[in-house]
Amino acid sequence: MVNRQPVIAVIGAGIAGLEAARQLAALGYKPVLIEKSGTTGGHVAQWNRLFPDMTPAADVIEPLRAQTAGIKTLLGTEISAINRLKDEYNIVLSDGSSLLCQAVLFATGFRLFDASKKEEYGYGIYDHVITNRDLERWFNTREDRRIQQPKAVGFVHCVGSRDLKAGNTQCSKVCCITAIKQAIEMKEEFPDAEVYCFYMDLRLFGKKYEDFYIKAQRDHGIHFIRGRVSEVGEAIDGRVVVKAEDTLSGRPVKVTLDLLVLMAGILCNPDALRYARDTGVAVDDDGFLKSRDNLAAITESSRPGIFFAGACTGAKTVPETLAEARSAALAIHQYFSNRA
């Protein structure tokens, strides 16, 4: 009989952490969820609806929360340091206490690119420039003075993704489909508005994403312009003037918009990088945590007892993250089974 008493620290109570904790508990382990913020659910909990079926984010979050209700969860708790001991890890928490655990699961997720870093887009400077996250918040709360009955809305893909100058050369994977989802939602919200998507490439790899794209084109008349927005200015009425090249016609285009939504990309959570340093886990060339094997063992680190789930190893969709969380739980189970 394997010893099923080891303590497993799950860092981050987003969907990856919650799902992994749920699976670990089901396998008979004692996971401890450590969450920096005051609530569980991570980024997904801040979202309104999810592509491609327009599923309310709550439909994903609520069952996970319900099923992890009995699991020890330290909310509002930051990690000051992680000390590597022999076979064990000692996690020093912000409240001064420490947690001795036999395995650590990084479910640290991602950090959204700070769109104000792309200075030319004027996020935080112009009155009607927002990010994908701001728009989701508006869908949830309907409160944002920057959104006022727009007649023309633009979406800029790849803000802080695939951009050497922004310090992230990776594709954030989910922004294309998120932009299309939000474009459709805005068009539904403001049917008279012209909606433009400025893209470099459309990367619609997932299940039914392409259908979503066709729907956006045909049913909603969303204009797709292949070209990266070069600069944004503010007109005298406070509207934003967007300049880009329409690379398909080889000409510069200019359009005045009432709202510009920047699709901020996905970066590795900087906290994760700090924990990685503490625990001796390597960081991959793409700026995310390095798995033991990017094909066969994406949830395992090269350190015994350290596991990964979700966006800490790269941008992921919700189903990918959930699948990885389950996979990580099994990998941990395997780890303790072998040790026993």
Binding site: G124, I125, E234
Partner: protein, 356 residues
């Protein structure tokens, strides 16, 4: 516009500007276009604010124009620049301040190139030695003269005789800033406020009472573009770019444009006449144009220097409406009197643009 957002960005792009002891290099073309600007820069810094600014009569062009026109290779430009550094070293200075934006860009670019490719620096030192037996230390700080005025803007404001506000209404003047392309577009961290929202000029204008307006084509080139202007057949392209800027700023009704580059004020000023002739359109009020000032001229006005001593009579666009608005007194009769009180001749009047 969210002002706090800009301040946040400005905080990221503050460069260190030493307070005193500068080796000053003049611009090739400004001395012809706006002759009093450099004079009053030195006058204000030295006489009014008591700073040590040194200039040498041996310094030459930085070769920036030739370099940007692709008529000389970069190594030649580097050697010319190395010679200026040698003059600075010989004079015992560490801080270089340039009058010209293209020079500033050129110096910065060369120093950055040397930082990346030290072997190139060694080679240039060798070239310089072979050419004129000189040696040099690289400057500790390179600043543009506008950086220095930006740094001293508070001291100027303290001594200000006039403020950039409408005398009639007390409203701040609406000022358009135009930053030379070579100031920070190549190396954002070398400019005060970065490349997207530089605050070197807006900082001055605001501390002297004006209000900066942010129009969509704010970042656009003035249209000079070296080759675009120097080849006559290409000048249509040059003036079209300027035209684009004026069309974009027109709805904001600016009272003045403030610039920090040798070419920009010249083209923004003179092209207003050409545009008016070609399209019949003027951008100021009542058929006037929008006055274009250098930062030194603006500083001089604020400090109460006589407009004609500042050389404002050589501007194509009449400055009188601006002077009236601020309430700066001037004697129209003296407008075309030279330094020695002799007539310098009155220019012919254009057919469209109103010039008093």
């Amino acid at each position: 516009m969210i002002y706090q957002g800009k301040q946040k960005i400005w905080a990221d792009y503050q460069k260190e500007i030493p307070d005193d002891h500068w080796f000053y290099v003049r611009s090739c073309i400004r001395q012809n276009f706006f002759p009093a600007s450099e004079k009053y820069f030195l006058k204000i810094c030295r006489d009014l604010l008591g700073r040590d600014i040194y200039e040498s009569e041996h310094h030459t062009t930085c070769a920036g124009i030739a370099y940007h026109c692709d008529t000389i290779p970069q190594e030649t430009a580097m050697t010319v620049v190395a010679r200026q550094f040698a003059l600075m070293t010989e004079a015992g200075y560490d801080n270089l301040v340039t009058s010209c934006i293209t020079s500033f860009g050129n110096y910065t670019e060369i120093l950055e190139t040397w930082r990346e490719f030290p072997e190139l620096e060694a080679k240039i030192r060798e070239h310089l030695w072979k050419a004129c037996r000189r040696e040099f230390n690289k400057p500790k700080y390179v600043a543009h003269a506008s950086d220095l005025v930006y740094k001293l803007r508070g001291e100027i404001a303290e001594r200000a005789k006039y403020h950039l506000v409408s005398r009639a209404t007390g409203e701040p003047l609406r000022i358009v800033e135009h930053i030379g392309c070579h100031y920070s577009k190549m190396f954002p961290h070398k400019g005060v406020g970065g490349a997207e929202y530089p605050c070197v000029l807006s900082g001055m204008a605001e501390s002297w009472g004006g209000q900066i307006i942010d129009y969509p084509e704010r970042r656009h080139c003035c249209g000079f573009g070296f080759r675009q202007y120097f080849v006559q057949a290409n000048r249509g392209y040059s003036v079209s770019n300027t035209h684009k800027k004026f069309e974009s700023m027109e709805p904001f009704h600016p009272d003045a444009i403030i610039t920090n580059c040798p070419g920009c004020p010249y083209f923004l000023d003179r092209w207003q006449y050409v545009i008016a002739e070609q399209t019949g359109k003027t951008y100021g009020r009542n058929g006037y144009g929008i006055p274009v000032l250098t930062y030194e001229e603006l500083a001089g006005l604020v400090l109460g220097v006589d407009p004609w001593d500042l050389g404002l009579q050589v501007h194509q666009v009449a400055v009188e409406p601006l002077l009236d608005k601020i309430g700066i007194p001037y004697d129209p009769a003296r407008k075309y009197l030279g330094m020695n009180e002799k007539e310098i001749m009155k220019p012919g009047l254009p057919s469209v643009l109103k010039c008093c």
